[in-house]
Symmetry: C2
Subunit: 276 residues, 2 copies
């Protein structure tokens, strides 16, 4: 693993790192913000999973998370959204392939070779963080935006003992019921829809996976609210299965980083309480 960028910011260290991924079989980049507290003590970790078309860079530059992370002493880890590179299978659309890994472990050729973002995010990356940084791995939480909100929720639901808390910004709640998700799941996971349920938040909840609570912020002017987010399906699933969903609808907010950054400090404070 190699540091390719380092900037002091808000009293901590903002790093960008590159490494050879054993899950994705390519070079992967991610960013890590080490709060000032990490100089002296092991700090809890909050993963932020990004949305379609993004890399680690968008939220690292525009997410406005460092002030709150420094205040609460939380390490922020921002992985990429897919494998990348000349030898990685891809399609020339924004909603599939590069920038659109959907946080699954693909089973279908030619994608299974590289598109293993679920294992990357839940196993390989935490092991790297534990090895390289002053992180308290008994205190991990996860959040994300859009496709990354979907990713955060499936990671938490499938590993309820791993993550102390989960939140999301405008998450894709039921990918199996959206054009984006149906296209991606067919190509990554195959046509057998039963296999999709392992990576669909609403289906996972229906199938008995659970977490105590989820915090979601959602803008009312989000252009993907009806077609891609489908938050009412999540509300129903949470209501029917005893998950305490705090859904905050925000008048006029869209799907952009101007929205995410507005509520980032709130999410970090919320996770900080639960990380102890």
């Amino acid at each position: 693993m190699k540091i390719i960028n380092e900037n002091i910011s808000h009293g901590g260290r903002q790093l960008v790192l590159i490494h050879d991924s054993t899950s994705c079989h390519c070079e992967m980049k991610f960013s890590v913000f080490l709060p000032p507290q990490a100089e002296k003590q092991a700090c809890p970790v909050l993963y932020y999973l990004s949305g379609l078309t993004c890399s680690h860079a968008n939220v690292t530059e525009k997410g406005e998370f460092r002030a709150a992370a420094a205040k609460h002493g939380i390490i922020i880890v921002c992985p990429d959204t897919s494998p990348r590179g000349e030898n990685v299978a891809d399609e020339d659309v924004y909603y599939f392939g590069t920038g659109a890994g959907f946080y699954v472990d693909a089973t279908q050729k030619p994608f299974a070779e590289n598109y293993n973002m679920y294992s990357y995010v839940t196993d390989e990356l935490p092991a790297l963080i534990e090895q390289e940084f002053n992180a308290d791995m008994s205190r991990q939480s996860i959040t994300g935006h859009s496709m990354g909100g979907h990713g955060a929720m499936i990671c938490a639901l499938k590993n309820p003992d791993r993550y102390k808390s989960v939140s999301a910004f405008a998450p894709i709640c039921a990918p199996s019921k959206t054009d984006w998700g149906q296209n991606a799941f067919t190509k990554y996971l195959g046509t057998e829809k039963n296999a999709w349920r392992a990576y669909d938040t609403v289906a996972l909840i229906e199938d008995g996976h659970s977490v105590p609570e989820i915090l979601i912020d959602q803008g009312t002017a989000d252009e993907f609210l009806e077609s891609g987010i489908r938050v009412p399906l999540l509300e129903t699933a949470c209501n029917n299965n005893g998950i305490n969903l705090t859904l905050r609808m925000h008048e006029g907010y869209d799907h952009s980083y101007y929205f995410i950054s507005s509520f980032m400090a709130d999410h970090i404070a919320w996770h900080a309480e639960r990380l102890g």
Copy 2:
């Protein structure tokens, strides 16, 4: 004037606007953040002038100013750093021409036609803000980064009654004594160095221009500290001429937006006190 982007953020409205500039004789873009308070009352205005290679967009995306601006009820105006366009004279370097207007009114051909950023920032843009937004023009302040810190200081020194306060992030303090500034001033203002003094912070102070105080944040790891910033020349000029300079040196910080964003909230709070 036309709004080309609008995003709700931190309770306010983040706009990007385009208009035909009478100073620069081309289309100019700028961004305006209207805090929630501007819905009901006239708010003070803080101008942020950007550095070499930047446009309005960099600080608008990465500056982390909206939370503090919304808290204090301040309108934030971020102009471009130069005229731009097919018909605007330019050179193919980062430190002159497009993205490098140096906030002067050029007198030399072919630059005099468009490169009038001083008039643009001090006259044309404030008139637009007054006309279009709920702004209290009796309460204006100015700040900026690098070349824009130079711009902020010369605007304030040349118009001490206009701006309630001035601050800067890693400003070019004495452009006449740097390679960047000597190149730019020669081409914009001519070889007669006396003309340069009207756009050089240290020279303006030596020539009797004054403001009560200046706040500056500066990183010790800034790659341009010795060659481009030259802050000791400003310290001497302020000491000799009764200007209260608050210079805060920050260990390990560089010249990037990771530095700017770390101290943005401080600057906005500092200006808010002085804007009343």
